[in-house]
Amino acid sequence: MSAKRVVTFTVNGDQVEILCEPRQSLLEVLRDDLDLTGTKEGCSNGNCGACTVIMDGRPVVSCLVLAVEAEGAELRTIEGVACGSTLDEVQAAFLEGAALQCGICTPGIIVQTEALLEENPNPTEDDVRFYLAGNLCRCTGYDKIVRAVQAAAEKRQVAASN
């Protein structure tokens, strides 16, 4: 077993310093060491998107990122999406649009949507379907997710223009 390393990064604005093994995934560290269990594990090989977090502005599947690779990074997880006690537009749109059911894929999809809207504030339906294609949902119905993403984009656009 290799020696443990000290890794420092920020999660949702908080500076974190942890001791981790080089083999540990970022997902494992977030969930098991930092108790940020909102980031889910569905497959551990990058195929379901449930563990998506934003790392230095880009969405990554945290099961395929080693924790040591996050040295110096800025991370945003589902726990950092709401503004204090207020849901952000994407969360509100998913809730109001019934774009979730069992909900275990929801954090990953919301985080991926945050990345999408950051990159493309006014996505077409095709853009949404393409960008979220890596996020697997077993029980909700993707249709509602597309509508929720578009509703959130529109709400954010309106807010920005006011």
Binding site: R31, C48, L100, C137
Partner: protein, 736 residues
């Protein structure tokens, strides 16, 4: 005693209205703690060794090195893995290692020395001849129903053969075909498992379960406890679909290790174990011959289907064939196959999706042979009384739903005869439809209701919320009953310490919890009305609870709900209610129809199918919350698209290995794979007045047949076995 009933559509303030899920806030913020998220202080993490071969005899299982692996605290060998035992499918857990971390447990598992003698393997469930040669078949039952009866002097078997031959001879159209649907797995995104701990000699199990009130008994039986010594908790669950009704031997093992080590144990299956052993749906393949008259009305059906539910045999029940459209003369026979695959579990609407996929495709081929519109052939059969459905007014309901579905998908404008549509390059489009039925009788449900003197309303029920809206529905029922808002009501589910409520399976939950909570609510309200009556100087039976007040009906004379509750004195009012299956009730009912229509595009060069539009029209009696109700249907449609086009368990015929048991290879529908989905709730007064009926199963039944029929309409060629993979499409075109 209150007369339990629902208010009329016009009189409701909460029921029938769309509300966001009460559990939604926790889910969109990541605060919801699933079993997988439960980490207890000082817990061990368990990892299991699965059997690499599909059929073998264990000759050696040496865990000595595992026990010495750094970080490993305990190793448990399952009884069914003892030396000399025969293992019947790949993935069966043999031993489990509990350690300080998952990595340490995995390292321990890697040191286990396993030796086995390979035995004969059979997993070719589609190949009936091979199954017979391998002596893996069994009788699955059958039935013959003929309108004419044999005479006194006739030999019955001979009469049956002659009568069936006569019916075929008299048929205007005869179709012979082969249809099938492969086995799929439940593939829950949260795998099966638990985190368990012992407190003062009692077991607390955080279990990913659809059966909070029923699994304590399973633990208790295997651990030689009483149910009172076990508490099962499940606040959130990441998918079950019929596979999570029992603790399973792996959760019992976690409890044993926890007891032995005195530490909590977390044990969830890995992704490949989840697919290999934690639930699958039986396959079904059928050869059929059917005859129809000049209108496509079936006159005779003669089928033989086979498939497997696993190593014990089993398969699709013969009782549901032919599905929904059933002529008065039919013969059906089933053969079961013993396959070296894990035994199946209930999967949304057991038997129905396969029966629908096998038989309604055959019926659609009658329309194809006639050059007729499929819609007209289905309708003609319904009008002729060729219907087998659990809905009490099935034919009329199907016809009404078909008309709505046809309008939504623009059937008339988009229809063309099978294979006769215009091509756009290599792309052709087509329409297909299917019908389904389900029971959905409300499950047993008890609940306790507490009304506090400050007006607070809190309920306790040992049901579970699979994300389908159980909490929200309960809150709506209570809010409606007391004239409150749903945020004024606190709902507690998810613990076996609450009054028992049935498992969430078979579309039985919404009916059950609506029954128990409406009953408790009405009983409590009766007591509050008695107290308020004195205050208001009116008769108790002249009062109503609306808009946060207890009011004399038809007047402005009222007191607030809070004021009325202060009349309780110092102690809260506690009411329990119990609904048992079979109780006379107008609150719930059973038996639904449902129609689905698909519009697809198929690329004849690549074999790729795209669902352009997919419409579901569904009745379910009285709808408590249209938003969550529609969600169930959307979800079922997506699962249906996945099963129609992508999902299948693939095994290697030589080794029996389940070769695609992970998400990279077990293909599910993605966001880009589904088209425009339309859900239409059919709730005329004739349906609403029947009371509440669950809808988890029914919309999951038809998608496969509807999509397969749309593909056949597009191509003019039947792709016989579902899922309709590109290779199968191209093979069918090449063969045509």
């Amino acid at each position: 005693m209150a007369v339990y009933s629902w208010p009329s559509r016009e009189a409701t303030a909460v029921i029938g209205k769309e509300y966001d899920r009460l559990d939604g806030l926790a889910k969109v913020t990541g605060a919801a703690k699933y079993t997988y998220d439960v980490n207890l202080k000082n817990q061990l993490v368990a990892v299991a060794l699965g059997c690499p071969h599909a059929h073998c005899k264990i000759t050696k299982l040496d865990v000595a090195a595992a026990e010495k692996t750094p970080g490993v605290v305990a190793v448990h060998i399952f009884e069914h893995a003892a030396v000399g035992s025969e293992v019947q499918w790949q993935g069966e857990l043999l031993a489990v290692v509990a350690a300080e971390s998952e990595a340490a447990a995995r390292a321990g598992v890697d040191t286990i020395k396993l030796e086995f003698e390979e035995l004969d393997v059979f997993t070719e469930d589609e190949n009936l001849d091979a199954a017979e040669k391998a002596e893996r078949t069994g009788k699955g039952g059958g039935k013959t129903e003929l309108e004419r009866e044999p005479g006194d002097d006739d030999d019955e078997d001979e009469f049956i053969e002659q009568e069936i031959a006569r019916l075929f001879k008299a048929s205007k159209y005869v179709v012979e075909g082969y249809y099938g649907i492969d086995a799929i797995t439940h593939c829950c995104l949260e795998p099966h498992g638990s985190t368990v701990e012992w407190k003062d000699g009692k077991l607390v199990a955080y279990l990913s379960t659809q059966n909070v009130s029923g699994t304590d008994e399973g633990f208790a039986r295997d651990l030689k406890l009483t149910s009172d010594d076990v508490e099962v908790k499940c606040d959130y669950i990441g998918g079950g679909f019929g596979s999570k009704f029992a603790p399973d031997y792996w959760a019992v093992a976690a409890a044993k290790i926890s007891k032995e080590t005195g530490r909590p144990v977390k044990f969830l299956l890995s992704r490949d174990q989840e697919l290999k052993i934690a639930g699958n749906r039986p396959s079904g393949y059928m050869r059929v011959r059917l005859g129809a008259d000049e209108n496509g009305v079936l006159t005779i059906w003669d089928s033989h289907h086979w498939g497997t539910a696993g190593y014990k045999g089993g398969g699709v029940s013969q009782t549901v064939m032919p599905y929904v459209i059933r002529p008065k003369n039919y013969r059906r026979i089933a053969t079961t196959i013993k396959s070296n695959t894990a035994q199946s579990r209930a999967w949304r609407a057991p038997n129905h999706p396969q029966a629908c996929a096998m038989s309604q495709t055959a019926i659609d081929d009658v329309a194809a042979k006639m050059g007729a519109n499929s819609y007209d052939v289905f309708a003609a059969n319904l009008r002729a009384g060729n219907v087998d459905s659990q809905h009490p007014d099935a034919a009329n309901t199907y016809l009404a739903e078909m008309a709505r579905g046809a309008a939504l998908i623009d059937w008339k404008a988009n229809w063309h005869a099978h294979g006769k549509g215009k091509s756009r390059g290599s792309i052709v489009d087509g329409l297909g439809m299917a019908l389904h039925t389900w029971g959905g009788t409300a499950n047993n449900s008890d609940c306790r209701l507490k009304i506090s003197p400050d007006g607070g309303v809190e309920s306790f029920c040992g049901s579970q919320d699979l994300g389908t809206g159980t909490r929200t529905v309960i809150a709506q029922v209570l809010a409606e009953t007391f004239g409150l808002g749903i945020r004024d009501v606190r709902v507690n589910v998810g613990s076996s310490k609450y009054p028992a409520s049935g498992a969430s399976g078979g579309s039985t939950t919404v009916g059950g919890v609506s029954e128990s909570h409406r009953r408790a609510g009405q009983d409590a309200l009766e007591k509050i009305f008695e107290l308020a009556a004195k205050e208001l100087g009116a008769a108790a039976n002249s009062l109503e609870a609306v808009g946060g007040k207890v009011r004399v009906k038809g007047t402005d004379k009222a007191i607030s709900w809070k004021k009325a509750c202060t009349l309780l004195g110092l102690k809260p009012l506690e009411v329990t209610a119990s609904y048992k299956r079979g109780d006379q009730s107008t609150l719930s009912s059973s038996g639904v129809c449902g129609v689905q229509m698909a519009h697809v595009e198929v690329d004849k060069e690549t074999g790729v199918i795209k669902v352009k539009k997919f419409v579901a029209v569904q009745d379910q009696g009285l709808v408590i919350n249209p938003k969550t109700c529609k969600s169930q249907i959307y979800g079922a449609m997506i699962m249906g698209i996945a099963a129609a086009l992508y999902e299948r368990r693939i095994t290697d015929p030589k080794s029996g290995a389940f070769v695609n048991a992970e998400l990279a290879d077990y293909k599910l529908a993605r966001l880009g794979d589904v088209g425009d989905l339309v859900v239409d709730l059919y709730e005329p007064e004739s349906e609403r007045s029947r009371g509440v009926i669950g809808n988890g199963e029914p919309p999951a039944i038809s998608p496969k047949a509807a999509i397969a029929n749309a593909v056949a309409n597009a191509l003019g060629v039947r792709v016989p076995v579902i899922p309709l993979t590109p290779k199968r499409v191209l093979d069918a075109l090449a063969k045509a």
